[in-house]
């Protein structure tokens, strides 16, 4: 895995030392809109050829970060580097990046061909007509719209318009392709198809993609790295897997995938294992992520699919495994798996996902039945108990009190 903290390389002519292998960088980039801090001290290197996603809830500053790369916003403080050069004051039309806009922003007075050719025609010296035609046709094929050049924009379906927008950006062979929620307007099935296509295309072309999305599934399935944001700040950067399996805080675990959280006090820890005493006096143990003081309020996160449900008490398992008696409150069939809402006296309600196979083997549970829930110690993660809902205005240090 690439690391964000690398030693700066050689100084370039402008006195900036780009991180080796990076195509763009944020250096303490901050953007203020009046009182609103839209981006707060962003430090990030984007590497050549990678697929990076900005993920986060609405208003967390994803679009602002992207627009600073495109040149539509100038950082109030800090720097933005592209290809090693500071580009804070470079206007958008000079930057070697292209953007796919959220609602496509296709030119309604031009047909598909002219929309795609637009970028090529802005080049000076201007390429010849035949060169433009060749490139446009080739790009139309890349986005699987061969022969659609003569069509009017409004004669294209939503999915086709999306491809035209993609082609319009790709034809310029940008160093960086920026995509602002490009699939937000598509229905679920089409979105899934486009996600796969986009990913394939990125691998094929080797262009660096930076995607903005608030859909965690989209970010998980497409990206090499995810940059999770909150209130203008970066909370965690890493591969989809590391965000899912090693979330840096409760906020991350909550935003990426589903999870159960049990709050409690850290009562002891040793060698990366923490013991947590919940309010009702139950003892849970799990891996610790981060540095905690004993007695501190923390959250233990357990993914619903890592819990097991069984009719009889599970036998002696590995050290530290948790077994509790629960009552089934509710069952929801979700296709790939079944979601059970279970309740235990000591821990309240939580979710358990049972795969179809397991469901078939152990027999489905009915509401009201009693069962045993269990999970191995590695499935439980002790996390900083940061607020999960709205981002705090200042700092992340406040602890949720329920």
């Amino acid at each position: 895995m690439r690391q964000t903290k690398q030693n700066p390389g050689q100084l370039n002519s402008m006195g900036y030392a780009p991180i080796p292998g990076s195509i763009a960088e944020f250096r303490g980039a901050t953007k203020l809109f009046g009182e609103v801090v839209a981006a707060d001290h962003i430090d990030l290197a984007i590497f050549k050829g990678e697929f990076l996603s900005f993920l986060g809830p609405s208003g967390c500053g994803k679009t602002t970060a992207l627009r600073m790369l495109a040149g539509f916003e100038t950082p109030s403080r800090g720097d933005v580097l592209i290809d090693g050069d500071r580009v804070n004051d470079m206007p958008p039309h000079r930057r070697p990046v292209n953007m796919v806009f959220q609602h496509y922003a296709l030119f309604p007075h031009l047909n598909v061909f002219d929309n795609i050719a637009y970028g090529l025609r802005q080049r000076r010296p201007r390429p010849g007509a035949s060169e433009i035609a060749t490139k446009v046709e080739r790009t139309l094929e890349t986005v699987r719209l061969p022969g659609y050049g003569k069509r009017r924009i409004w004669e294209m379906s939503g999915g086709q318009q999306q491809r035209v927008a993609l082609a319009r950006a790709l034809v310029n062979e940008p160093k960086l392709l920026l995509l602002d929620e490009p699939m937000a307007a598509l229905d679920r099935k089409l979105r899934r198809e486009m996600q796969i296509e986009l990913q394939t295309l990125q691998r094929q072309l080797g262009i660096t993609f930076v995607l903005v999305t608030h859909d965690q599934e989209e970010a998980l399935s497409m990206s090499d790295r995810i940059c999770l944001m909150r209130g203008g700040r970066i909370v965690q950067i890493g591969s989809p897997r590391s965000l899912y399996d090693e979330p840096a805080s409760r906020y991350v675990a909550d935003f990426v995938g589903k999870s159960n959280f049990f709050e409690g006090r850290l009562s002891g820890r040793s060698a990366g294992i923490g013991s947590v005493e919940t309010r009702s006096g139950m003892l849970l143990s799990g891996r610790t992520v981060g540095d905690f003081a004993e007695g501190q309020t923390v959250a233990v996160s357990i993914r619903p699919e890592q819990c097991l449900l069984s009719q009889s008490e599970p036998g002696e398992a590995a050290a530290g495994a948790t077994r509790i008696k629960v009552r089934i409150r509710n069952r929801i069939f979700l296709g790939e798996h079944t979601e059970y809402l279970v309740e235990s006296g000591g821990m309240g309600e939580f979710l358990v996902h049972v795969s179809r196979q397991a469901d078939a083997m152990s027999g489905a549970f009915e509401a009201g039945e009693e069962a045993w829930a269990s999970w191995p110690r590695e499935a439980a993660i002790v996390l900083e108990n940061d607020a999960t809902s709205e981002p705090p205005k200042k700092g992340n240090e406040h602890v949720e009190e329920k």
Binding site: H93, N98, M99, F107, P108, H109, R123, N172
Partner: protein, 283 residues
């Protein structure tokens, strides 16, 4: 009620108005134009082409109308476009409404009174006297084509500004960002995106102003002083002064015919230009 019947009902008031105030009078004028002037003026039924053959006698009025109306429209466009652009794109949204109102404020006073003001401004004791002070003697402004054009632009500017303003205001600003993103500097984005997308507004404004100018008579009467006159002035003269209704009708028919011809040619031209847009509005 059946939808059909409802449609007819909706159209009835406008249809009746159209029939009685436009179609019937036009038919009357057409019939009159083939008649003869009575001994004491008015109209005597006849069927003769004499009035039409006599049209060249009013050539100057047609020539003035057919030059000053298009020129006035073009000049109004040249002044209105930057103004509309400023209002729609550049002006602070907080002040926009206020500025728009300022554009129409002159309309709160009668055109007659405003024309008198122009007579004074352009007349001997107005601008020419100021020019005389800096040594430019004997400059004549009033009763010239210049004076008429000034009056036309002044009077018709808001009519040109508004449709253009609307089309510019509606323009999706993200298209300009897309254009910049694709490598186009601001002035080229204007030429390639803003201008083509504001063509419907320009077309509407030009059409409105041009059609109204073809029938104009007040401004040339006031600021042209009988030296620069339009077909409208000729009609006033023929119907009210010399009471030659038959000849007046022929002149009116000729004017309507010219208008229909130019407007349909113009529409075809504009449509060729803007068939790229699905929502072209030519009113």
């Amino acid at each position: 009620m059946r939808p059909q019947a409802r449609n007819w009902l909706l159209l009835a008031p406008a249809g009746a108005w159209f029939l009685f105030m436009l179609v019937l009078p036009l038919v009357v004028v057409l019939v009159f134009s083939f008649g003869e002037r009575g001994p004491a003026g008015g109209y005597v039924p006849a069927f003769t082409l004499e009035q039409y053959l006599n049209l060249p006698a009013r050539w100057t009025a047609f020539k003035n109308t057919l030059t000053l109306a298009p020129v006035g429209t073009m000049l109004a466009l040249l002044i209105a476009y930057p103004l509309a652009y400023f209002l729609a794109v550049r002006a602070n949204p907080k002040w926009r409404m206020m500025l728009l109102i300022l554009v129409i404020v002159p309309f709160w006073t009668s055109i007659l009174i405003r024309s008198y003001a122009w007579i004074f401004i352009l007349g001997g004791r107005g601008i020419p006297s100021l020019l005389a002070m800096v040594g430019l003697e004997n400059v004549r402004l009033i009763n010239t084509p210049f004076a008429v054009l000034t009056g036309i632009i002044y009077g018709y500017l808001p009519l040109m500004v508004f449709p253009i303003y609307v089309s510019l205001e509606r323009l999706d600003k993200r298209l300009l960002e897309a254009s910049a993103d694709l490598g186009s500097p601001p002035w080229r984005s204007f030429m390639q995106v803003t201008l083509p997308l504001s063509i419907p507004g320009v077309a509407t404004g030009c059409m409105l102003v041009f059609i109204l100018l073809m029938g104009e008579f007040l401004i040339p009467a006031m600021l042209g002083g009988g030296k620069v006159f339009f077909v409208g002035n000729a009609l006033v003269d023929l119907f009210l002064q010399s009471r030659n209704w038959a000849y007046g009708s022929a002149v009116a028919v000729a004017l309507v015919a010219i208008m229909l011809l130019t407007v349909s040619l113009y529409m075809r031209f504009v449509r060729r230009f803007s068939d790229a847009r699905d929502d072209v509005s030519l009113m």
